[in-house]
């Protein structure tokens, strides 16, 4: 007799996730057996960056297992250093991140160009563990160090006309070789609606894994919006502008029918060229189901109440 069980199984039941999480150990064990020489070294404690003082926020820590530091820092989309995943880690070392200044302008009471130290000074840092879902169907879990963007916005007092926040990445082709080719319309621009920018989950990050951001991850200051596709989380920010009009964002300009302004993680709305239903968590074998708003629906879905998310993708 064929006994059929209604499928209440999840992907995790199919294959033990702990086994997959230990993929590297297994592979390295195999490699060590295969290669008597054994060129592989175990990961080192501490990652060589300047350590930051911060307060952990267990209430804002995803329960998911962290993605390895080495994966977080060697598998990057940062087209300013090249369009493949490995180039940023290879080439970003040359980027000068000190001194660094950020221009704050547009519909704001206290515009100006500020040294990074002055931007950061009043803000206490905290650690938040967020899922990051790339539009290319892979994801990571990263312990960011940063502070809420809302706190910074309040400090500079946007006017009542400020409906959007526009962010711009550094343009410096001498140090960012990817900018020497017109792959995208440089400099990179991203934006948020004011309520998205003020949302308590929206983070300005200065570090990860307890240390200052490696350059390839967007040093010295980047945005992290965990419920949106990764390209919204703009790196190496030099300008924050408050606007009345919706900003013209870089990927939207490059392919308007593929990348919307909102870019909320949404398994129900396909990218025109691929499904967004599933994702590969880096370090895992089986794919996971992608969650609406990357699993942050409870906190952010109300921002989009009444909006047609197929239209405003």
């Amino acid at each position: 007799m064929l006994i059929r069980r209604k499928s209440d199984l999840t992907e995790a039941d199919v294959t033990d996730p702990a086994w997959y999480a230990r993929r590297r150990e297994f592979l390295q064990g195999t490699a060590a057996l295969l290669l008597a020489a054994g060129g592989l070294r175990p990961a080192q404690a501490g990652h060589g960056g300047r350590a930051l003082q911060y307060r952990p926020r267990p209430d804002l820590a995803a329960k998911d297992a962290l993605t390895d530091f080495s994966d977080v820092t060697t598998y990057n989309n940062f087209y300013e250093f090249g369009t493949d995943k490995a180039s940023p880690a290879e080439l970003a070392g040359r980027l000068t991140t000190d001194p660094w200044s950020v221009t704050i302008d547009g519909e704001v009471a206290r515009p100006g160009t500020y040294a990074l130290e002055d931007i950061l000074k009043p803000h206490g840092l905290e650690e938040r563990i967020y899922r990051l879902r790339c539009v290319e169907r892979w994801s990571m879990v990263i312990p960011w160090i940063g502070f809420p963007l809302a706190d910074l916005i309040r400090r500079f007092e946007p006017t009542s006309r400020a409906k959007y926040v526009e962010f711009t990445t550094l343009y410096r082709p001498e140090e960012m070789p990817g900018q020497r080719r017109a792959v995208l319309d440089w400099p990179y621009v991203e934006g948020l609606r004011m309520d998205e920018a003020m949302h308590p989950l929206t983070l300005l990050a200065v570090g990860l894994y307890g240390e200052v951001l490696p350059n390839q991850n967007g040093a010295p200051l980047r945005l992290v919006v965990p419920w949106k596709y990764g390209f919204k989380s703009i790196k190496s920010i030099v300008r924050i502008r408050f606007t009345e009009q919706m900003p013209q964002t870089t990927w939207h300009k490059a392919a308007p029918h593929e990348y919307g302004f909102y870019a909320n993680v949404n398994p129900a709305v396909d990218h025109p060229r691929w499904s967004q239903k599933r994702e590969r968590r880096i370090g895992e074998f089986r794919k996971r189901k992608t969650l609406p708003f990357n699993g942050y629906a409870e906190q952010v879905a109300h921002l989009y109440a009444g909006m047609d998310l197929r239209r405003f993708f």
Binding site: R24, L27, Q28, T30, A31, L34, L35, L40, D68, S70, D71, T74, Y75, Y79, T83, K85, A86, E136, W138, R181, V183, L184, A254, A255, D270, R273, W274, S275, K277, R280, I282, G283, F285, R286, K287
Partner: protein, 203 residues
């Protein structure tokens, strides 16, 4: 291929053409493919498929341009290698991307032009690989050559597949596209010239 086809050149090229696959296998099991090894396998096997397809197409022009005989002795092997890497590529997609979720794969083929193109190219390569031996050549006789001209649409589909899958950086699709256009264009040009001249003198 019968024993009489085995010679130093073929053995050497056969071994060299296997190296990318061996390297991928070695790199996969020693964790050298980066943070997303499954994606790396898919991408790399796809690129090698395209490279071997272009190599296959380059053999006739090489022979004609320089009068060498060796390119034609390698043509079938390169074609079979294109199919071999194409099969690897397909396997990584069916397994690591879709986990053999056939309804989803079906939707993908119907809905996504780049998947449709890739599948089309592979189907053609499968038919050509299956009819590539001496026995099939004899059996198909006069129909063999027109059948194997399907390699031209297969190359076009493969280039389109690559082109449609890239997000913004079109450099490599463009390079492969230009090479493919050159190899196909050369054939058109030669055909046009042959038709144009009343007397065809062949060496």
């Amino acid at each position: 291929m019968g024993l009489r086809h085995i010679d130093g050149l073929r053995v050497g090229v056969f071994t060299a053409a296997l190296l990318p696959a061996l390297w991928l296998g070695y790199a996969f099991f020693t964790d050298r493919l980066g943070a997303n090894p499954f994606e790396a396998l898919t991408r790399s096997s796809g690129e090698w498929t395209l490279r071997f397809l272009l190599l296959t197409l380059a053999m006739s022009p090489l022979r004609e341009a320089f009068g060498w005989r060796w390119p034609l002795r390698l043509r079938r092997m390169f074609g079979l290698y294109a199919f071999f890497y194409g099969l690897l590529h397909l396997t990584t997609y069916l397994w690591f991307d879709q986990f053999f979720d056939w309804p989803e794969i079906g939707r993908d083929i119907l809905k996504r032009p780049f998947i449709t193109a890739g599948m089309g190219a592979l189907l053609i390569l499968a038919a050509l690989a299956a009819t590539s031996n001496q026995a099939m050549m004899r059996r198909l006789g006069r129909r063999w050559k027109p059948l194997h001209r399907l390699v031209y649409p297969a190359v076009v589909l493969a280039v389109l597949h690559h082109f449609w899958l890239v997000k913004a950086d079109l450099r490599w699709p463009a390079i492969y596209g230009i090479i493919a256009a050159g190899l196909l264009g050369w054939r058109l040009y030669r055909r046009y010239r042959r038709r144009g001249s009343p007397v065809v003198v062949r060496a």
